[in-house]
Symmetry: C2
Subunit: 197 residues, 2 copies
DNA sequence: CATCGTTATGTACGCTCGTACACATGGGAT
DNA sequence: ATCCCATGTGTACGAGCGTACATAACGATG
């Protein structure tokens, strides 16, 4: 028994669950597969997470933090001087261009909320978190629209195997931003600014 | 054995599969559950659909036709005179406002393609179908953007239990359509055709 | 009518699953 | 030092799963 009284056991199980979902999908997530991946006995996973929903909630929360980390690594997103659509497109490109299993994992857990009410609040937290970040730069309606189109673009990339087109994303995102005065600085101006609302 | 030589057996199995997914989700889809729902013996489902992927492909195809039927019921979508964003928002509202199980079913099968390569082509067909319809009204880039934001709005509605806001959808969709200048007014009259690519 | 291949049916095998539960262990309170 | 209980571990049970397969019914063909 080399591992009795392991204070990080719980965290290691969560990490293992994320790896399992990334590799086999949610369908491959079980107490047993997670236990094997974490190299702990079966009873350990059932002890720390009585139900699979509990485990998935924990994993989804951690995955959300992963995305938040990517966002936090781009302070330009919060810079009122920066070109928001271009920055968003760049961040999305980094997220999609890196280890795609991370993105697939996030969306798989995210969409599992469709059928598992226990996951709904966590999924909502994520959308609200990104939305709040964007609302600070624009307005609530635009923020929700940006989140929607980000989701849609991600799905298109994930489902159709077409490579991510950052320029396309920037263009589409730019159309959604109601173009207040902040465009003059570094704006590439490929679009005529829409009429101010 | 009242039902030997049943020529519609296969179709009844597909219908049953769709009902099962609508009620229990994809996780609840199995040869046995479908057999029970269709009131046929287990061997019958395995005979007509050797693998679950085969069955899901058939079900997804049929679900796609269901959405296409909703679209076809709105000829205004193809009318160059009509207000495209408003019409799209209305169609989406009808789709989301009706029997929500249909929408959930479609998205569940649609998103199952993330992990099941066999479903990818069918999912791609759906996106391309809607995209082609919209491209005829605008341009390819705008069409893809519209599909993306439609997907995103649907997901927001499905995942957050917030009711569908048709006015919000119309506003967001309108921003994506490259109508120079006249975003504010809801004037349906002059919507110049695709100005830019 | 006899034959044959397709379609339909019932059953069984091996597997994984969630869950329960009895038992071991060791740190912290007394 | 002793006890207690949260934590850790192994095992077993019943259920559902995909799949395989032997057999039966039936329409088509000769």
């Amino acid at each position: 028994m080399p591992r009795r009284h392991d204070p990080e056991r719980r965290q290691r199980i969560i990490d293992a669950a994320i790896r399992v979902v990334g590799q086999k999908g949610i369908a491959g997530l079980s107490h047993r597969t997670v236990a094997a991946e974490a190299d702990v006995p079966l009873g350990s996973t059932t002890y720390h997470f009585a139900t699979l929903d509990d485990l998935m909630v924990a994993a989804l929360r951690q995955a959300n933090e992963g995305f938040a980390r990517v966002v936090a690594a781009h302070p330009a997103l919060s810079d009122p001087e920066a070109d928001l659509p271009a920055e968003l497109a760049r961040v999305l490109g980094e997220w999609l261009g890196g280890d795609r299993t991370g993105v697939e994992l996030e969306y798989e857990l995210y969409l599992a909320a469709l059928r598992r009410p226990a996951l709904r609040p966590v999924a909502a937290e994520w959308a609200e978190g990104v939305g709040a970040l964007l609302a600070a730069r624009t307005d609530p309606v635009t923020a929700r629209a940006l989140v929607a189109v980000l989701d849609g673009i991600c799905l298109q990339v994930l489902l159709t195997d077409t490579p991510y087109d950052e320029e396309y994303a920037r263009e589409v995102l730019a159309r959604l931003v109601p173009a207040p005065g902040t465009r003059d600085g570094r704006g590439p101006g490929s679009l005529p600014p829409a009429a101010a609302g």
